[in-house]
């Protein structure tokens, strides 16, 4: 996907001014937050499960190459083909090659964020292959002129029912429906012929199980099953960090993933797909491929951002993020929004291409608290800010202000004088009121709120006076 993260601030401003979006975001927010809170309360010991998940993810990632080799061996043994892609372009090339080899004209897809990273739909279309998104949310976006998703598990988080109703009526040329159930039925009827006529299905993968060579898929709509079992070719496109050693490990992570994502104890569908259709089996593809993607992940192994690789893509961090709740996912400008996106986007798409994202956080740590694999997201955002300073990506004015502040704070006498003058100036600016309505030194503050006036003297001068009396 083309990156637009450098325009974060301008886009965020547009999103804040979008009355419809603001209402949608407010409605959607509490649903995810409240349902997760209820779902994690079902576990006897949520914190111990989190810790176990963190440990198992770290242990696997420390030997990532070995577990990937094991996965390749087991998947190959069961008739699948494992291919590797170092970046988005290679993903597109591998998938188009597979499609051509099998004479594929049409592809059904279930949700895959990696396919967004790679821009796979455009590549398929350019090769004359029709991609059909079958996840309801992704389908809505595709027929809406390939709009990008705004959330990693709820791609149309930003849309309300009325917008979808109008879109369906226009694209499907049918009478507008008002009930969600009726709209879903309509989408199903439109999609069914595609499911039956597609030659190839592309899915993502929530986890790869090394000991069995399987891919685990967590879905709620059932489209994932149709995509992975009906066509003669199934291609799994997923990141190399998704591998875990055993089915036991999968059970641990599955206690956390649906609960953290949608607040479900278990998703409506959970598929564990292993190898091609055997002689004694009725369903399944004749050909199964794994395209396992690096695209910046391998460089993170063992480094200062390695903890980010633990991410299981549940979306809890964005659901609980005050900034995401205020501006929605599109403002972030690439595939992954919210706190995890603000870490991944600079790492995958270039730190200089997403300078605002690590800064656009209050570091409130609500994300770190809810993360099911205990990724210290605020620490990683802070570390990215350090990289920006090291690489001189911050504006000169900001660098000078910080240096000046630190220098003054190291010289107490000078600091005392400067703060005395400063607070008197602010008091004067308030003009006898208890607030400053326009603050010239920090104009952004007073765009949307007042700045309370200081009392007029510093604690240190008052304390000094008191002790002299």
């Amino acid at each position: 996907m083309q990156i637009r993260s450098m325009h974060f601030k301008a886009r965020a401003g547009q999103k804040l001014a979008d009355v419809v979006l603001q209402e949608n975001l407010r409605k959607a927010k509490s649903k995810f937050v409240d349902m997760r809170a209820l779902a994690i309360a079902e576990l006897d010991d949520f914190e111990a499960t989190r810790e176990a998940a963190k440990v198992l993810r770290d242990r696997t990632l420390n030997d990532l190459d070995l577990w990937l080799e094991r996965f390749e061996l087991e998947a190959t043994r069961r008739g699948a083909t494992v291919l590797w892609a170092k970046d988005g372009a290679e993903v597109c090339q591998r998938v188009v090659d597979i499609a051509r080899r099998h004479g594929v004209k049409k592809v059904t897809k279930s949700k895959s964020m990696l396919s967004e990273e790679a821009g796979l739909n455009e590549a398929l279309e350019a090769a004359g292959i029709q991609p059909v998104e079958t996840d309801l949310g992704e389908y809505i976006l595709q027929i809406n002129d390939n709009e990008p998703p705004s959330h990693i598990i709820a791609p149309v988080f930003h849309k309300r029912r009325e917008e979808v109703s109008a879109l369906f009526a226009r694209v499907h040329q049918l009478a507008p429906k008002t009930e969600i159930e009726a709209m879903t039925r309509e989408a199903r009827e439109v999609l069914r012929p595609h499911f039956l006529s597609a030659d190839m299905g592309i899915s993502g993968g929530n986890f790869l199980v090394a000991e069995t060579g399987s891919v685990a898929l967590v879905t709620n709509e059932g489209n994932g099953r149709m995509v992975t079992t009906l066509p003669r070719v199934h291609v799994v496109v997923t990141g190399i960090e998704k591998v875990i050693p055993t089915l036991e490990d999968l059970a641990t992570l599955m206690r956390l993933l649906p609960r953290s994502a949608t607040g479900q104890s278990i998703s409506n569908y959970f598929s564990l797909l292993t190898g091609v259709k055997q002689a004694d089996e009725q369903d399944g593809p004749a050909h199964m491929y794994f395209v396992l993607v690096d695209n910046g992940r391998a460089d993170l192994v063992g480094g200062e951002f390695a903890e980010m690789l633990r991410c299981i893509r549940c979306g809890a961090c964005m659901n609980h993020c005050p900034v995401y709740q205020a501006v929605g996912g599109h403002a972030y400008g690439w595939v992954y929004p919210g706190p995890m996106g603000s870490v991944l986007t600079p790492l995958f798409a270039g730190i200089e291409n997403a300078v605002d994202l690590p800064q656009a956080a209050t570091l409130c740590n609500q994300c770190g608290v809810v993360c099911p694999v205990k990724i210290p997201l605020p620490d990683l955002l802070r570390r990215l800010r350090e990289k920006q300073v090291e690489q001189r990506l911050r504006p000169v004015s900001e660098r000078l202000t910080l240096k000046l502040w630190a220098w003054m704070a190291l010289h107490p006498a000078l600091y005392a004088l400067a703060t005395r003058i400063g607070v008197r100036y602010l008091k004067w600016l308030a003009g006898g009121e208890d607030r400053i309505r326009i603050l010239g030194v920090a104009p952004e503050w007073t765009l949307g709120r007042d700045f309370p006036a200081p009392e007029g003297k510093t604690f240190r001068e008052l304390y000094g006076q008191r002790n002299r009396v």
Binding site: A12, G13, L16, P322, V323, Q325, A326, V327, Q359, A360, A361, T362, L363, C364, N365, Q366, G368, V369, R382, L384, R385, E386, K387, Q388, V389, E390, R394, E398, R399, L402, K403, W405, A406, M408, A409, L410, P412, T419, V423, R435, A442, E444, W445, T446, L447, G448, R449, D450, F451, P452, P454, E455, G456, K457, T458, F459, R460, L462, Y463, G464
Partner: protein, 245 residues
């Protein structure tokens, strides 16, 4: 016990009375309080902006000023959190310094945490009459576990009725430099916070951090709310809530 009061830069500049309230409370709890005269800033602005060198310089200064105290107390979860959870990381390249920082961190407390769990303050001097809703500031809550402590202290005041607001644990949108780098987003988050505060319909919103205080008061007033008072916990507990200035 000898307690060093870390006033914090925002209290020093914006609300000195809160510093005196904190002093009064610590003395009421039987502490011998020292206020190092050269103290300035804990280094958090630099630390959170990626300028580790500046932050480390200030951390060393705080260490020198407060190392001799039995405890360090700040009327701020944010500054206490900076010292308690981040100083050791700042000094990690120097083993001896990191060990000294770790000792400083271990004896540094947010005011309400200290009064409740260390000084075990029995009765509070203040006599506030009215309803209060408490805003949990992010660093106090999520770095230091400050949640029950301020409520336990307020419960010692017979005239106070506590009404919880929806989303008490949600960020107010301040975020330090974030509030001026992304002013519109910051103000939008503050608006939601203030809607929650107003839903509690209390006489005052009480909190333990100056950043949140300035942000919330500024937003409430801009929204036209002239009625809801915005008070620091120390002022309420110390009985310093009459308008003096």
């Amino acid at each position: 016990m000898r307690v060093g009061l870390f006033v914090t830069c925002l209290v020093d500049m914006m609300r000195p009375r809160i510093g005196f309230s904190a002093l009064k409370l610590l003395e009421a709890a039987g502490c011998e309080v020292t206020v190092p005269a050269t103290q300035t800033c804990c280094g958090q602005p630099g630390y959170n902006s990626g300028d580790r060198a500046s932050a480390l310089g200030l951390a060393k200064k705080v260490l020198a000023e407060f190392e001799a105290c039995d405890y360090v107390v700040a009327p701020s979860g944010s500054c206490a959190g900076m010292i308690r959870t981040h100083y050791a990381d700042l000094a990690k390249d120097d083993e001896a310094l990191a060990a000294r920082m770790a000792r400083l961190s271990a004896k540094t407390y947010e005011l309400s945490d200290f009064l409740t769990n260390i000084a075990k303050l029995e009765s509070v001097p203040g006599n506030f009459q009215g309803s209060i809703t408490y805003h949990d500031s992010c660093a106090g809550l999520r770095e230091l576990g400050v949640k029950a402590q301020p409520r336990a202290l307020l419960a010692k005041m017979p005239g106070v009725s506590l009404t919880e607001m929806p989303g008490a644990e949600e960020c107010c949108g301040f975020g330090g430099a974030f509030s001026v780098k992304f002013g519109e987003i910051s103000a939008a988050i503050a608006e939601r916070k203030c809607e929650g505060i107003r839903a509690a319909n209390a006489d005052a919103v009480v909190l333990g951090d100056l950043g949140c205080m300035l942000n919330i008061e500024g937003k409430l007033r801009r929204m036209g709310d002239e009625k809801t008072r915005v008070l620091h916990l120390a002022e309420v507990l110390a009985g310093d809530t009459e308008d003096k200035f």
